[in-house]
């Protein structure tokens, strides 16, 4: 049997989409570029010392002294290695992608928990999204949006959305039935029950989901260096390309440090959420 010209069909489809939906893609690109410029512009001028002291105080107040010291040490090390600028660029992309994922994921999670039909549609899609290796998401986003920040953010959102949706749905599902009945008996409307009973009780789960989402965003943003995202990932890619061992170790360590800081700064505290964190990570 001869080779089917599937590649050609896809090329035609992509060409058609680029020709007819070009305006949409340009708008998406412009939007994410603008977001990136604004957030980078806000974060880069802050002197590193201020950020370090701020996060140390934050860590000490929120958890223990030890937590603050770990954060401070990791950031100082990052600064000393000379990767501050790249780290800020990476974190800016993580913030954009995670922010949009959370903004989309929480309503979607509420929908999954509240409506049976949404659940039957969304759950298999989430399953497939989590089954697909992250690398595959790069292809459509780079083909439609070109090289740069926008395709990186889009691929990252697709990758980081499932944990938020799952966590929100799981949190709402696990609210005690008796509490909802009590609220019902006192005459609360469904809307009030959702906003004043279910969501507050689901918050620990949602925090876990957000933490997971941020960590997955970081993992993806780094890989997105392959399609032109700036930051730490591009340093790793160039080190891999030149087989420069020293540079690779330094850039890799910088990513590890950023991961430690992001994880510790956004990780919720209690033991219960730690356990469900593992559940979410494995799906």
């Amino acid at each position: 049997m001869p080779e089917l010209p599937i590649s050609n069909w896809i090329d035609v489809c992509v060409a058609w989409a680029t020709a007819h939906l070009g305006g949409l893609f340009a708008a998406i690109t412009a939007f994410f570029d603008a977001c990136n410029l604004v957030i980078q512009g806000a974060l880069l001028p802050i002197p590193p010392v201020l950020v370090i002291i701020g996060l140390m105080v934050f860590g000490c107040l929120r958890r223990r002294i030890k937590e603050g010291l770990i954060l401070g040490f990791a950031l100082l090390f990052l600064w000393n290695l000379g990767y501050w600028r790249d780290a800020v660029q990476t974190v800016a992309l993580v913030l954009i992608a995670a922010g949009i994922s959370v903004a989309l994921g929480i309503p979607l999670g509420i929908g999954v928990a509240e409506s049976r039909s949404t659940r039957t549609v969304v759950t298999p899609i989430l399953d497939y999204m989590q089954t697909t290796p992250s690398f595959v998401y790069l292809i459509p986003s780079v083909l439609f949006l070109g090289i740069g920040v926008a395709p990186a953010v889009v691929a990252t959102i697709v990758f980081a959305l499932p944990p938020v949706v799952r966590a929100t749905a799981l949190g709402i599902d696990s609210v005690d039935r008796k509490l909802i009945e009590a609220a019902n008996a006192f005459g609360s409307s469904p809307r009030q029950i959702l906003a004043k009973v279910k969501l507050p009780l689901a918050l620990p789960y949602i925090y876990v989901g957000i933490n997971q989402c941020i960590m997955m965003s970081l993992a993806m943003v780094v890989i997105c260096a392959l399609i032109g995202a700036q930051g730490l990932g591009s340093r790793v890619v160039s080190a891999l390309a030149q087989a420069d061992l020293g540079k690779g170790i330094e850039a890799g360590t910088a990513i590890v440090l950023v991961a430690i800081v992001l994880d510790r700064a956004t990780r919720p505290g209690s033991g219960r959420s730690q356990r469900s964190r593992w559940w979410l990570a494995t799906g």
């Binding site: 090390f77 595959v136 292809i139």
Partner: protein, 287 residues
């Protein structure tokens, strides 16, 4: 702060050079094992014509999942064959299986140690946590440095990703074994070794299967990324397509990875679910 830069790169470089100089036999043994396993799998997959494997994969998906998955996977594999991607598919699959076997060789004993000894658990849990939080990209660097390019570094990077879930599931499975069953075995005079191999491990096998499925998925996602350090397979085609913005090739290769992921995931989770009831624990949840 500005004047002095901690010479991490230099230190790391000399450490690795030291390691390469003094641990050469171990590194060579690992490389040899990786190549043997990988070539073995490739030999098996090339031994029969593609349609045999398409039928076998479809049958496995039907048996362990449903007819929808089976028809999707068979059709997907036929498309890959038709698109001249069969050898790349075989390369990816062999790499995934090699990495999974190597990971399980370490992960299952590790899980047993985690379950049996509190000291090991306290010491290793933070390490496993740390390994799981890291972005997977990072693992490529030490792998590249220690093993050069090609299959061994890809296997090493996959192992760092696949060992934690497999070890954890083994540990959870062993710890969930009913105390009373262990007591009964003890009362009949079984040695600790017999209790472990004849009582605990069989009862924990569903959890171990789930962990192995997780390890397979991790190995697949890493095998694709590892094309950056020269691993052959579908990831290589994706990478090439991204580099030259070739939409058709990229989508077809990406679709191939997706088909493999669905096939592996469904068959592995179906296997784990089948194993569950046979051990007689109806209350066992599949996490």
């Amino acid at each position: 702060m500005e004047g002095y830069k901690f010479p991490l790169g230099v230190i790391g470089q000399s450490f690795v050079e030291l390691l390469v100089r003094h641990a050469q036999p171990e590194v060579n043994a690992f490389v040899w094992l990786c190549f043997r396993l990988d070539h073995g799998f490739e030999y098996v997959f090339s031994a029969a014509p593609p349609y045999v494997w398409v039928v076998l994969a479809g049958a496995a998906a039907w048996r362990f999942s449903n007819w929808k998955t089976a028809s999707f996977c068979s059709l997907g594999l036929l498309v890959l064959w038709n698109q001249r991607l069969w050898s790349a598919t075989i390369a990816t699959l062999s790499l995934v299986l090699t990495s999974t076997v190597m990971s399980l060789i370490i992960a299952i004993p590790l899980g047993i140690a985690l379950a049996e000894s509190r000291v090991v658990r306290n010491f290793l849990t933070p390490v496993l946590d740390f390994l799981q939080t890291m972005p997977r990209f990072v693992y490529l660097i030490p792998a590249l440095v220690l093993f050069g390019i090609d299959i061994p570094p890809a296997v090493f990077a996959s192992m760092t990703l696949a060992i934690p879930p497999a070890a954890r599931f083994t540990c959870t499975g062993l710890m969930q074994v009913d105390e009373q069953v262990v007591e009964a075995a003890k009362a009949f005079g079984s040695s600790p070794w017999r209790i472990l191999t004849r009582v605990k491990l069989p009862l924990a096998s569903p959890a171990i299967m789930v962990g192995s499925g997780q390890a397979l998925m991790m190995a697949l996602s890493m095998a694709v990324i590892a094309s950056l350090i020269g691993a052959e397979g579908l990831g290589e085609d994706v990478l090439r397509a991204i580099a030259v913005l070739n939409a058709g090739q990229g989508f077809v290769a990406g679709f191939g990875i997706f088909v493999l992921a669905v096939l592996i995931e469904r068959v592995a989770s179906g296997c784990a679910a089948r194993l569950g009831p046979r051990t007689g624990r109806s209350d066992h949840r599949s996490f």
